[in-house]
């Protein structure tokens, strides 16, 4: 919806260039005549990318003055569902290969997805660590209040892998609907510990929470794939954005926010 005025403008410029706008093959003809990165694009991105992508947006728009990025940040499963139901988007950056696969399986990906960052889980505790949580084993203690992601969402899926690798049965008091909700419970001191992405801890207020790294042996890595979409109204600029995210400049920003870029 938001992108519509841009699309009209795009169509208008095509007409001005003297192309007979017959309507068929619109995207193909447009691609030839547009400069590589201009116009509006809509990026559907996992919620955990919010802070990093907003910074990348500024740099990208400075480098491409004609381009305007619009973001839709949400849980990856929500985004893949929206895309497969025809939501108009140019780029999909997923926090879960599984959700990306759903888009690929529905023939909605415009090419092969590229893994651009990896994220790891970290134990998060309220500032000062009132319950003296030291490691993963504490998350199996009945007497502590523990928040985890529900296994239906990617961070919960990953948490389960970690617990299985460590041979620990977790004792959660709540299974939250997304990773930010886990962080909220810990930030407010309602739970003694939680399991979130290290990027969430990096983005949180240092005065409110502390992160504890997991032992390397059980560490599970979550890969983030990115792709332009088959029905992208502005595939050219979408690809330019993907290229920017994969460039050294893009990687530097993502690293600042705690992502690992040594992937693929």
């Amino acid at each position: 919806m938001r992108r519509r005025p841009g699309r009209l403008l795009g169509a208008g410029s095509v007409l001005l260039l003297g192309l007979a706008g017959c309507g068929d093959g619109g995207a193909g003809t447009q691609r030839e005549w547009q400069s590589s990165a201009s116009g509006d694009i809509t990026v559907f991105a996992a919620a955990s990318l919010t802070e990093a992508f907003k910074e990348i947006e500024q740099a990208f728009e400075e480098a491409n003055p004609g381009a305007d990025l619009q973001f839709n940040f949400a849980g990856s499963s929500t985004l893949s569902r929206q895309i497969n139901q025809g939501a108009p988007a140019d780029v999909f950056a997923s926090a879960s290969p599984k959700q990306m696969q759903k888009v690929v399986d529905a023939d909605n990906a415009g090419g092969d997805p590229t893994v651009f960052v990896a994220n790891k889980l970290q134990i998060v505790v309220p500032e000062g660590n009132p319950a003296n949580v030291t490691g993963l084993a504490d998350l199996g203690k009945q007497e502590l209040d523990i928040a985890l992601c529900a296994e239906e969402v990617p961070c919960g899926d990953l948490s389960q892998t970690v617990f299985e690798a460590a041979g620990i049965t977790p004792s959660p008091d709540t299974l939250e609907q997304d990773v930010k909700a886990v962080l909220t419970k810990v930030t407010l001191g309602e739970t003694d510990a939680g399991l979130v992405y290290r990027t969430d801890v990096a983005a949180a207020d240092e005065a409110e929470v502390d992160g504890i790294d997991l032992p390397a042996a059980v560490e599970a890595v979550n890969e983030y794939p990115i792709v332009t979409l088959a029905e992208a109204p502005n595939a050219e600029t979408g690809q330019a954005f993907v290229d920017y995210v994969l460039s050294d400049e893009g990687k530097a920003v993502l690293e600042d926010y705690g992502f690992g870029t040594d992937v693929g």
Binding site: T78, E152, T174, L175, E176, Q177, A181, T184, L188, G189
Partner: protein, 285 residues
Amino acid sequence: MTTTQARATPARPQARSRRSRARRAGGLPAVLVLPALAGLAFLIVPLAGLIVAAPWPTLLERLADPAVLGALRLSLVAASAATVVCLVCGVPLAWVLARSELPGMRVVRALVTVPLVLPPVVGGVALLLVLGRNGLIGQYLEAWFGFSLPFTTAGVIVAEAFVAMPFLVISVDGALRGADRRYEEAAATLGASRWLTFRRVTLPLVAPGIAAGAVLCWARALGEFGATITFAGNFPGETQTMPLAVYLALQTDPDAAIVLSLVLFAVSVMVLASLRDKWISPNAA
């Protein structure tokens, strides 16, 4: 409500109901019927969408899942308990709002609607800040009684009652203000105490309003999502009500989410339909 009053007051309201019957006989004007039909379709068509999309062949199998029954039971128990809490506190609150002549009642009435205006998730955060383990009041509950509301069924009831109470209060307040106060005055002149008057005259007079408010309140509590998941969390058997189960199912298994929604819908319609016949006069239903 009109019908109860018609029975209670002999002369005037009967004339009114005769007039309305006469109007009904004349047929409804199209200018009302068309938007009414549009409104009805607007409310019902999304439901039809659910029914069409439902995975009918596997429906029974999915329903037999103990997790579904657990969430359904918890939903019904919590919504009913929340309704009781709302009745116990909400009816007296509505009475104070309707009958008190203290200045500032307008402000109090506006404050009662705060949970209606507040996005439920914000309501949940507010409850955490007050009743959570580190909350203004919650920290004393924890320190003195070793008792904490978040992540318990009691927390679910608190969250639902917080969101649903305004529906009851507004409804009962309206009924009280619409009720004929001469009955209360007559009871008082005949020597009835205030409490006796309230119990034997005021309450029966506004009973339909209380019933309607309780139904709204129960329905709202049953569908509550945001405040519950924020304040009480989500744990199967303890705090996972149907709407929470629906939301999580939607992440991985949309068909299961549709089944859960239909169950919640069917059960609430059954409960509301049966209560309507019992509580509210048949004419009102």
